[in-house]
Symmetry: C2
Subunit: 184 residues, 2 copies
DNA sequence: CTGTCCATGTAAGGCGTTACATGATTGT
DNA sequence: ACAATCATGTAACGCCTTACATGGACAG
């Protein structure tokens, strides 16, 4: 379960509430690990039981208590252990590719529409990634933790290069469908 | 739920048992849609209820009945409808990138080992994909359904180009970690 | 006679999503 | 007056995985 370790990672930077964590995810790793709110709370409960984090409870009369989570030494050890542990190959599921796989049932028009839509989606994603990347480029000079920062930003690079590859493939596919050149 | 439609896709080629389908998945789309046996059986039950497939029951005394599934016209319609329907953007989860994101906690050695392992895994995958692709290249000339065949094979191309992009990124990352050049 | 193939499923549990529910504070 | 932000959670459901269970046929 990687959500667990991603949460430990964020808590290793600073203590946070579940709400803070949700924002941290959305701001940084959501492009390769979208996290959902209710699950963050459930995972935090689990981490507390396992002794990887502790709760600092802030009572707020009339409302539910606010809870600030702190990582324990145990939690830091577990994080480091996991970071250097090879992960088993991950199953990868891409429904869009199923559509292409059975694309023989679609007309050229339908097929090209399908591909063009996908291109539009990816181009939008890339525009966002590029913008964020540019922002990081400005920031990096003034940072003390250059190495750690660089590594975290490199995951965005991954997003950019893999989306570019997908885009090139889609464009070439449209071209070949249009020209009827079905050579491999 | 795309498994449903992938199954309909295979049944549109020919009737099959759950067992046959499992093999069909493993042989063709497992690189972007690994399917698991128990789920295939459950999904087939659902498809039957929905009227997209029918069961031809072969009784085998002493053993569980064998069931051959046939797609109905309703099922073909549903397949076509789904194939041309835009899919909502898919959440994408890659735990390896979480490891890189928090890679600041690892030493250069640990980090490079992590990246090198990933490179090895991808290179192996690519070797397999390339081999299968070469096999298809030989086959395509003698096929009548060139267009449909071409489209199904193009999903393998996707696997190849996206893995190549990942590989290039990993190599560049190792290089930069080694040289301590943390520029973006 | 051991293992692999064929062929079916059930059970249990984890991960993840969507929807719902509460309530104070701050900004427009 | 209304919406957004802060902050917590529960409930229900669906997808997917892992493990387990059965049993004939056939090949080495």
């Amino acid at each position: 379960m990687s959500l667990k370790h991603a949460i430990l990672g964020f808590l290793s930077f600073r203590p946070a509430t579940g709400y803070d964590l949700k924002k941290a995810f959305d701001r940084s790793v959501s492009h390769f690990w979208p996290a959902n709110q209710s699950q963050i709370y459930r995972t935090l409960a689990g981490l507390t039981e396992e002794g990887y984090v502790t709760q600092e409870i802030i009572e707020r009369e009339e409302r539910l208590d606010a809870k600030i989570y702190h990582i324990t030494q145990n939690g830091r050890d577990e994080l480091h252990r996991w970071l250097s542990t090879p992960l088993p190959p991950q199953p990868f599921r891409e429904p869009f590719l199923i559509q292409v796989y059975f694309g023989g049932y679609l007309s050229d028009e339908e097929l090209i529409a399908l591909l063009a839509r996908q291109i539009a989606v990816i181009e939008q994603t890339l525009a966002v990634y590029n913008q964020i990347y540019a922002m990081y480029q400005e920031q990096i000079e003034s940072r003390e933790d250059v190495r750690a920062f660089f590594l975290s930003v490199s995951t965005l690079e991954y997003g950019i290069v893999s989306n570019r590859a997908a885009l090139a493939w889609l464009n070439s596919l449209i071209e070949r469908v249009r020209s009827g050149n079905y050579a491999l």
